[in-house]
């Protein structure tokens, strides 16, 4: 079955660099309680998770207690610091997605307390519910059928019915091939994983998520290339792979992540999708981003620049462990509120101050790492402007990777970006690999299938036929 996009993006939603700034999105999103995301205010988005513990029937009372403790602390701190509003994200774990009842209970614990603070104290808040993409538990995964998929959708649906305001997912279609592409730095496999498998899987998933959101009155937020380019980011930080490869990979994720919006999602986009600025530039949706305040979860090379055009500012994820001052989720909440307060204060003094703040955020990171450089607002607009000319997501993915290489090379030549010699040589390697990718998707699949381990994933789950099977069925 073909899952057709309901929208296409032929031109940029953000028309000029001066309109590309934090807090303001071309298409703001208004929630049921009146909170507007992308309408001028940057809001904190706090993400919380459990400390080390098992999740099973016997530990569920403790799981409930942990979530209740976290949300109470978070909201209390948000109230104390006069937050203009707050978004709480719960990334459900595999266990609490596979057993929908547990996820639903957690969702309800959080949402009820949020309603209470809104009613009692006027603290407006939104709950983003992100069920786990549990399909990959079975290897090779069943992407479009089976109990895991149905339980995942049940979790989405029931949490939305119980008041989750925003629905998101970190989808994993194509991850097996992408992982292989990453460790061998093979851009051919990366382009195939993102531009063919990822796109096809997201079209399937997001057609259903958008439908659930429409039926329940929640907001279809967005996806993220977390399992893809964030894996690259982590490997690059550990110096396992070149940073330029991770940067090119990030840009190559754009057509894939854009699929959510082509299928009808409206944003706010998901925090760990560092490709978010491109979503805002192209689709005009508000975006959540994370950077220095996500150091509790991972190191990144984009701590400041990630905030340049954000509409929500997140901490990625933090465990409920006690720090000197308070439990870590409460500490993260405070940090996020202060970050947002500063950005909002600068913007309140006028657009030129917001742009100055944006440029400081960008300039403080962009020369130090190619992954930061490709998030420069001017670079984002330049690459996005080229990508909207390309209608086919596979070709757009290939083009995105090539544009990233070109922009990084130019940045080095202009002295705007510092790269070591061993990093630079990989730009030429990536370029030469890209040149071998044909423009015909079918031909590319035929070429590549001989190099792929087809025991790790199921081509039929992406509507792809294996050549041998095709030949056999033709007889």
């Amino acid at each position: 079955m073909e899952y057709k996009p309901v929208k296409t993006f032929d031109e940029l939603a953000v028309k000029s660099l001066d309109d590309f700034v934090y807090g303001i999105a071309p298409h703001p999103v208004t929630a049921k309680n009146g909170m507007v995301i992308g309408g001028g205010t940057v809001y904190p988005e706090i993400n919380l998770t459990l400390p080390p513990m098992n999740i099973n029937e016997s530990t569920m009372p403790e799981v409930r207690r942990q979530y209740a403790e976290m949300i109470e602390g978070i909201l209390k701190r948000a109230k104390s610091l006069y937050a203009p509003g707050i978004i709480v994200e719960v990334e459900l774990l595999p266990e609490t997605t596979m057993t929908p009842q547990w996820g639903i209970e957690i969702n309800k614990i959080l949402r009820d307390k949020m309603y209470e603070y809104e009613n009692k104290y006027g603290l407006k808040s939104l709950l983003r519910c992100t069920p786990n993409d549990t399909r990959e538990i079975v290897r090779p995964p069943l992407m479009r059928r089976g109990e895991l998929l149905e339980n995942m959708f049940t979790t989405f649906e029931k949490c939305a019915e119980d008041g989750a305001d925003i629905l998101s997912i970190e989808s994993t279609g194509g991850k097996e091939v992408h992982d292989e592409g990453l460790v061998t730095c093979d851009i051919r496999k990366v382009v195939f994983a993102l531009g063919v498998l990822g796109v096809r899987d997201m079209r399937f998933l997001w057609s259903r998520i958008v439908e659930i959101a429409g039926r329940t009155g929640s907001i279809a937020g967005g996806d993220t290339a977390c399992g893809f380019a964030n894996t690259a980011l982590a490997l690059a930080e550990q110096e396992m792979i070149p940073r330029v490869f991770a940067a090119v990979d990030r840009v190559a994720t754009i057509p894939r992540s854009l699929v959510a919006f082509e299928m009808g999602a409206t944003g706010p986009d998901k925090d760990c999708g560092y490709e978010g600025p491109y979503m805002k530039a192209i689709a005009g949706v508000p975006i959540s981003m994370e950077g220095k305040t996500a150091a509790c979860a991972h190191l990144s090379a984009v701590g400041n620049i990630a905030a340049c055009v954000c509409d929500m500012w997140s901490n990625e994820s933090v465990q409920n462990v006690k720090l000197l001052s308070a439990p870590a989720p409460v500490v993260s909440t405070e940090q996020l509120i202060y970050d947002c307060r500063l950005m909002n204060e600068a913007a309140a003094d006028g657009r030129e101050f917001a742009l100055k703040m944006r440029d400081w955020l960008a300039d403080s990171d962009s020369s130090l790492d190619p992954q930061a450089y490709v998030l420069r607002p001017d670079v984002v607009l330049e690459i996005s402007g080229e990508l909207v000319k390309e209608k086919d997501p596979f070709l757009a993915t290939k083009k995105a990777a090539a544009l990233a290489v070109e922009v990084i090379k130019r940045g080095v030549e202009k002295g705007e970006l510092n790269l070591s010699a061993r990093e630079k040589k990989w730009l030429d390697i990536i370029s030469s690999q890209l040149e071998t990718i044909p423009d015909d998707e079918e031909k590319f699949w035929f070429e590549l299938q001989k190099e792929l381990d087809l025991n790790k994933w199921r081509p039929e789950e992406y509507d792809l036929e294996v050549a041998a099977a095709k030949a056999a069925s033709a007889k």
Binding site: P52, M53, E136, L182, V183, T184, C185, D186, I241, R422
Partner: protein, 219 residues
């Protein structure tokens, strides 16, 4: 004539064609195959290991070197049918029950294989009983477990307990790794070692098979 240094350098550069050429040349001139392996091919990979540990080589470059070395080993095997490549030891590896994050674990497996270990990669979401079964079947020197989530790392202890119950814990060394794992946690659950990354994990395994006890590799 090309010598061991040329062969080692070709391995370091991941130059497969050159490795094959030099290996053939050395064997044709009557050099002992074991010397070709130890003084040329393995020496090359040892240099790679050092550079990787010092963050001077990327994983894909290490893999190219390993591929080049293996091409050399194949040439030796063709010349001498009865030849067996020496193994540094056997490792059973997998992510623990409930954990699906395998890119780190796969990297560790690749780096161990590249260094000369025989690796049995069980995959993801491995039940304690399956680790026990694998230890009985493969008789490894080391069991390596990984977890990325705070909610799955606890299953490492269950696996160690299962090995104890089966009377196998004293017959293998158990090492663990993954984002939320620390040396303290390893000590707490009775693991024999912890490594923060793929390069350290390989080094840790080398130390363990050499017979050193409880040798945590610093982060």
């Amino acid at each position: 004539m090309a010598g061991f240094e040329d062969l080692s350098q070709a391995v370091l550069e991941g130059d497969e064609a050159r490795v094959v050429e030099v290996t053939k040349s050395l064997l044709d001139s009557g050099v002992d195959p074991l010397d070709v392996i130890n003084k040329g091919l393995i020496t090359g990979m040892d240099r790679v290991g050092v550079l990787f540990k010092n963050n001077e080589m990327f994983v894909p470059e290490v893999l190219m070197s390993a591929k080049a070395m293996n091409a050399g080993v194949e040439v030796v095997k063709e010349k001498q049918q009865a030849f067996d490549m020496p193994s540094l030891g056997k490792v059973v590896i997998g992510t623990v029950r409930g954990d699906l994050h395998d890119i780190g674990k796969n990297l560790v497996a690749m780096m161990m294989e590249s260094s000369g270990f025989t690796v049995y990669n069980l995959g993801v979401d491995i039940e304690p009983a399956k680790f026990v079964e694998a230890v009985k079947e493969y008789r490894p020197d080391i069991v390596a477990m990984s977890a990325l989530l705070t909610t799955t790392m606890m299953n490492m202890k269950e696996t160690i307990d299962a090995l104890k119950e089966a009377g196998l814990k004293d017959k293998v060394k158990v090492i663990i790794g993954g984002a939320p794992i620390t040396q303290e946690f390893a000590d707490e659950i009775g693991a024999d070692g912890y490594a923060p990354d793929a390069a350290s994990a390989t080094e840790l395994c080398k130390q363990l098979v050499e017979g050193r006890e409880k040798v945590g590799v610093p982060a």
